[in-house]
């Protein structure tokens, strides 16, 4: 959720991509210190938190990872609902994983529209010599869908920090923009409210979920 209670931003981030592209490796690399000397149960986690500071603003990232469940047709809207950002990870040595990224972009754009910040990460650049996803293709695709593209290596700890930092910055910007819009909209609604309460009854009742 994006509430900035107590001056801190809380952002939900989902990691998406095919199995074995290195989502969990990226996540664990990023929050590595959290695991030192901790019991294994720490790892029974749907999401892991990382607190960062950008320009004096405190940001709490809840990073969700359901690695291992890629083959289950179970990661519906419930999973990425209310997420502020998504990192779509593919393996540069695996073309199929890049196709999967395209599918995720399509689905997220359709379901969440512009509300979510998307980043694309080509992981495993330590295996550059085995690359099968052409560099130009990946970058031009990312540019086309308006997502920044990163080359990462969880193994060598390359660009992992940058990836999450960029995402945090973009989510912060989007949040600021939206709250600005929200202010505008609220003031407009107030004017309307004076005349007649707006009712959207076309869909009938609402579900309790």
């Amino acid at each position: 959720m994006t509430t900035s209670a107590g001056g801190a931003y809380n952002f939900k981030v989902v990691l998406l991509g095919e199995g074995c592209v290195g989502k969990t490796s990226l996540l664990l690399r990023y929050i590595e210190d959290k695991f030192n000397d901790k019991h294994l149960t720490t790892l029974q986690a749907t999401f892991l938190n990382k607190k960062i500071n950008i320009n004096g603003k405190r940001i709490n990232l809840s990073i969700w990872d359901t690695a291992g469940q890629e083959k289950f047709h179970a990661l519906g809207p419930i999973y990425y609902r209310n997420s502020n950002g998504a990192i779509l990870v593919y393996d540069i040595t695996d073309e199929d994983s890049f196709v999967k990224v395209k599918n995720w972009v399509k689905e997220l754009k359709k379901m969440l529209g512009p509300d979510i910040v998307l980043l694309i990460a080509g992981n495993k650049i330590d295996l550059e010599h085995e690359r099968t996803v052409p560099l130009e293709e990946a970058e031009s695709y990312a540019a086309m869908v308006g997502a920044k593209h990163f080359y990462t290596s969880a193994k060598l700890n390359q660009c992992v920090e940058d990836l999450f930092l960029e995402l945090a910055k973009e989510m912060m910007e989007k949040f600021e923009q939206n709250s600005q819009k929200e202010v505008n909209r609220t003031s407009r609604v107030l004017v309307v409210d004076d005349e007649a309460p707006a009712q959207s009854s076309c869909c009938g009742g609402t579900r309790s979920n």
């Binding site: 199995g19 074995c20 294994l40 790892l43 291992g68 289950f72 047709h73 999973y79 579900r207 309790s208």
Partner: protein, 456 residues
Amino acid sequence: MAATQLCVAKRSEDDCATLIFSDASYSHIGCALGSAAPPPSSACAATCVCISARSAISTGTDSLTDHGFHDKHIKVKGFIWGVATKIARTDAATVLATVNQFNAVSFRVISTVLVEPNLRPLERADILASWLDIARELRVLKNFSSLKAIISGLQSNSVYRLRKTWALLPKEKAELFDELARIFSEDNNRWAQRELLMREGTAKFADTVGENDRQLQKLLHERGSPGVSHGTIPYLGTFLTDLTMIDTAIPDTGAANAYHLACDPMFDRWFDSVIVLDDREAHTLFVPDRTVNESTERAATEEGWKRDSLERRTSPTRLSHGSSSSSLPSLDVSLSSANSGQKPNGKAGGASPPHAAARTGPDFYIIRVTFESDTSIMLSNNKERTPQVIRNAMLKLNLDGDPDAYTLAQKCCFQRMQMLYYAVNTAYNLNFILRPRRPAPGPEPVANGKPRGKRS
């Protein structure tokens, strides 16, 4: 209503929970279960939904607890590995089967709700209600895999967006959906389903309901004493995620690294050499007379021993009393034609026959003895003590050391089978294997100029 069939079967013999539900219009299930659902229309006529938790076989609690968990862990890791390398690995087959079953159910939920474009929202709501009834039964059966498959199907984008349809769902069904969905909530690291598994994993009945689970409370109350439901089928995805996390964070899982046991090559060699009998062999192996069957060892995988596999079965040269001496030259020929790796063997030719000849009995046997290479020695029938035979063989093979440090075994007709030598068994070819008895009693014996083969 009469045509409605709801068959909830749970077969213990194959640990397979099956929920079969068939009807001309399966929304009748509501009636069958005692709710007031109206007879539906039906679009999904003749649809037979069979949610067979075949996955139970692979994901039954047994395989996920205790020692079975380790096996599952391996399979799961195999699965992860298999995905990575795009190789369908057979040892992850149960994991794949579970996933496929899950998806099969989930896709059927989606398609049955959406396949008829002309349904009125109320009719479509009936289909949702039917699936919720099935889901409720699965909850009672503790089949969390198929339960989640249904919930996931209902939560998929294409179904979830049907606001009018969902709005027409009876209130208690909507509540039921919330309660069932709450089981798989991602809150608190899926606390709900972990807790549920802890409590009901090995329990006989489903009896865990939250304070807010009105519908489930009602259900369990109505059922009174539930039918016996022994198995629990968890949703495998939770474990896959946990294992992926653990595997990524700690590639070499910790506990195993705490062991620092020195490798014992002799033990390993023995362990590897023990053959595993199939039923037929185990049955026919026992030869009651004469054979002391203390040790049945598999023929060696060592380089040198392998050379003498039974495929190269040479018939024993059984010699009559009178013809024994005439065959001796051929013995030496076979020796000299042995492996080129041998160092020149000066004394072997003349050394052994006198020993054997000195104890001439009614019959002689020429037996073939293999250590690193083959040789043949003469054996008088059942008169020679084992140490003497070993000594002869060692002499012939140019081995130094104490004969007590070696054992001699005769190969049997069963493949790769030997019996320790006590007396020659003429029912089999006279092929013997000589090997060190225990870890180097003295300096490592050297055969034919090269050290004994190391396990690869």
